[in-house]
Subunit: 433 residues, 2 copies
Amino acid sequence: MAKNPEQTSQEPSLLNKKFTRRDMLKTAGAGGVGVLIGASGLGGILSLANAEADHQADKGTDIVSFYGKHQSGIATETQNHLYFVSLDATASNRLELIQLFKDWTEAAARLTKGKPVGDQSPNGFLPPKDTGDAAGLSPSNLTITFGVGPALFVKDGKDRYGLKHKQAKELKDLPAFSLDALEDKWSGGDICIQACADDLQVAFHAVRNLVRIARGKAVIRWAQTGFQRSKQADHGNETPRNLFGFKDGTVNPDVKKARDMNSEVFVTPGSDKDWMVNGSYMVVRRIQMFIEVWDRTTLKEQEKTFGRHRDSGAPLGSQREFDKADFEKKDENGQTVIPAASHMRSAHGEGKQQILRRAYSYADGMDPKTGSFDAGLLFICFQKSPSKQFIPIQERLAKNDKLNEYTVHRGSAIFACLPGIKQGGYIGETLFS
Amino acid sequence: MAKNPEQTSQEPSLLNKKFTRRDMLKTAGAGGVGVLIGASGLGGILSLANAEADHQADKGTDIVSFYGKHQSGIATETQNHLYFVSLDATASNRLELIQLFKDWTEAAARLTKGKPVGDQSPNGFLPPKDTGDAAGLSPSNLTITFGVGPALFVKDGKDRYGLKHKQAKELKDLPAFSLDALEDKWSGGDICIQACADDLQVAFHAVRNLVRIARGKAVIRWAQTGFQRSKQADHGNETPRNLFGFKDGTVNPDVKKARDMNSEVFVTPGSDKDWMVNGSYMVVRRIQMFIEVWDRTTLKEQEKTFGRHRDSGAPLGSQREFDKADFEKKDENGQTVIPAASHMRSAHGEGKQQILRRAYSYADGMDPKTGSFDAGLLFICFQKSPSKQFIPIQERLAKNDKLNEYTVHRGSAIFACLPGIKQGGYIGETLFS
C-alpha cells in the first residue's frame, strides 16, 4: 500500500527527529507528546493526539497516532511485523470488562508513542510496570487494533456482559466452508489485539504488556507472529510477496481514498449498529501453505494457479502488475488465458466484492505431523460487511480455487474492530455506553 | 557488537548503492559481482568473493561475503532475524553427502549476494529453481553458517559416511545438566544451517531453498525462527535486550580483535583436528522463559537475579553498562552487592571462560500446556572448546543460577561449524578430503 500524503501529519517539520524510548524516559512523568517535544528543544505544542484519521506514519518520527476516527492498523501502511493475539474474556462482570478496555486504551496510547506502559523503575520493591524489553527502541510505527468477537456478546447462551442486545448481525461465526480443516487452537476468541510494528520486539512487547494488564480479566486463547519483507529490504516500493513467491495485495481498495474506504472497509452511519460506525469487521484465517509441494510445481502451473505472472505480478496475458485483468482473452486453443479456476479469477467472481487485505506470512518451524515447514499466511482482511464481502468470496474460493491443492485453512475468527476514539475516550465506549 | 572498521570492505566507494534481487535479475547469467557492478554503471571490478575474514556488512550494499577464512555469521555483527534449522542426513553414501555440501556452497554464495539460487524462470515447463519469495529484496546482510553434529560421524554405532576417524573429541553430545528438561523435538541434528539477515523473509527464503536442494539427502529435524530488536529501532547503538528486559551480550569477546577471536572462538592449528582449524563449535539451547512469572517479580529481585541494573545494564554497584563488575563489594549488611547466585556471577565463575554469545529471542504463540506465552531465547554461542568453555559455565549455571527459577532448557545441540572457504572451494572440504 502506498503512503498517503494527505493523511500524514500536518506538522512534519516538528517531527523530523527519531525519538527512542530512552528519550521518553528522560521526560518520564512530564506528560504528553507536546511536552516531550518541548523538552527536546523542538518547541511548539503538537496535538498529535487529536489528529483524526491520521494513521499513516510520519517517516520522521515513526509514530502512528493511536487516536482518530478509525483505529490505526487498518488503513495504515502495512508494517514489517505482526504479533496477533486472540483472548477469552474472564472478567467476572461488565464493569471489570469496561475497566479493562479503559486500561488498555491508556496503555496503547503510551505504547504507540514509544513510551513504557508505566514508570520504568518507580520503586524497586514492586514489579516494574513495564516489562522493559522495548526500552531504547523507537516507536517503530506500532499500531494496536482491538476487536471483539461474537462470543463476547453471547457465549453458551449466556449474556455475560449485558451486551446481547448490542450484537450486530454481521458479527457471527463464519459459516463452514468446504475444505476447511479448522482447529480450535487457531480459532475464535472474545477479543483480539493486532499489534503491527516495523520491529517485532516492539510488537511483542506491546501485546505482552496488554495481556499482563488483562490478568484476571482475559486469557490468551491463541497467538501468532507474522512477518512481511521489511521495508528496508525493498525500499517499500513493491507489493510484498507471499511464501509462494507471488505478489500479494495488488488488488486492494485504495487506503488513500476516503470514499473507497467508506464504501468497502469502514462501517458508515445507517449501515449497521450505531456502535460500529467507523469500525470495521476483521476476518482472520490461519492458512497453512504446503510450500514444498508448491516448489515442485512447474512455473506455468504456478502462474495458471494464481492467474498472474510470478515475476512481474501482471495478470496472465498482460505486462504490468497493475494492468486490468482480461478475463475474456483466449489463447490459441480457445481457452481463457486466465483460467476460470485460477485464484485471481475465483476471488474476483463478478467483481462485486472488495476487501482490504492486510496479511502476514508465518514460519513456525517444522510441522511435526509431516516433517515439512509449518509455514503460511495469517490472512487478515477488513470490510464493512463480511456477509457481502469475505463470505461470498471465500465460498467461491472454497469451491473453485486451484490454489486449494496447496493450502489448508487451519484457523478462523471474526472480530468487530471498534471505532477509533478521541483523546479522553476509550476503545469500546460506543459499545458499552 | 560494534562494527569493525578494519574488517569492512576496503572499497566502500564502489559499493555505496543498494542492490535488490531485481537488479540482480537484470544481469542474470552475466556472472559474478564484478560484472554486476559493471552493469550498474559503477565501474571497476571488485573481488568481494576473495575477501578474507571480511564478514562485517558494508552498509552501502548490505552484503556480507560468504567467503573468507572463517564462515560468516560468527564474528559478523548480529542481524535482526534468524531462521535456524537442524537436519538429519539421509544421503545414502559419502559421495552424495559431499555433493550436497558442494551444491549448498554454490547456492549459499548466490543467496548471500542477493541472487536467486538459479535462474528465475528459465523454462515455464519446469519448477522454478528459486522459490521466488525474496525477489526484489536486498541481500539484507544475509549470512549462512553450516555446522555438523556428532551423529554425522557415528550414529547408532554406524560410520555412515566414512567420517568416524575424523571425529573431534570436542564434538560430542553435551552432558546432562541438572534442571534440563530437554525434548527430542528441539534437540540434536546431523547438520545445522544458521541463516541470519536483517529481513526475516530473506533468512527464511535461504533456508527453504537450501532444504529444497537437500531433498533425498537430508530432512528437517527441527527449526526455529528468532528475532532481536531491529537495528533501525535503536540505530544499532545499544546492546539488545532479552525478553526479561535486560541487556544481553554485554560481556562478549571483541569480534574486532583477531587475537581474542583466535584465543576464544576459532580453532587454531594444533589445538584440534586439522579439519576444524578456523572453524568454531556452536552450542544451541532452546531456553523457554517464563515471562509472566518474571513480570510479577520486583525490580530489586530481578536485578539481584541478573546481578545488573535493568535500565543501564551496569553491574550492581556500578553506573555504566561496561563498568567492570566488583564481585567483592559489600552492602551495609555485609552481603556482596552482586549476589553469589546471580546470573552474572554464576556465569563468570573464576573468570576463566569466555564464549561468543549470538542469541535470538523467540515468540512462538501460546504454550498449550500452560496457556502462557511460549517465548524465550534460542541461545547460540561459539567457542573453540566446549569442554573448557560452555560446559563449565553451564555446570555452574545449572547449579547456582537464580535465573533458573524463571527459565527451562527445552532443547540442546552441538555443531562443529566448518572453516570458511575461498571461492572455488566448498564448505566441508577439509572434512571430506
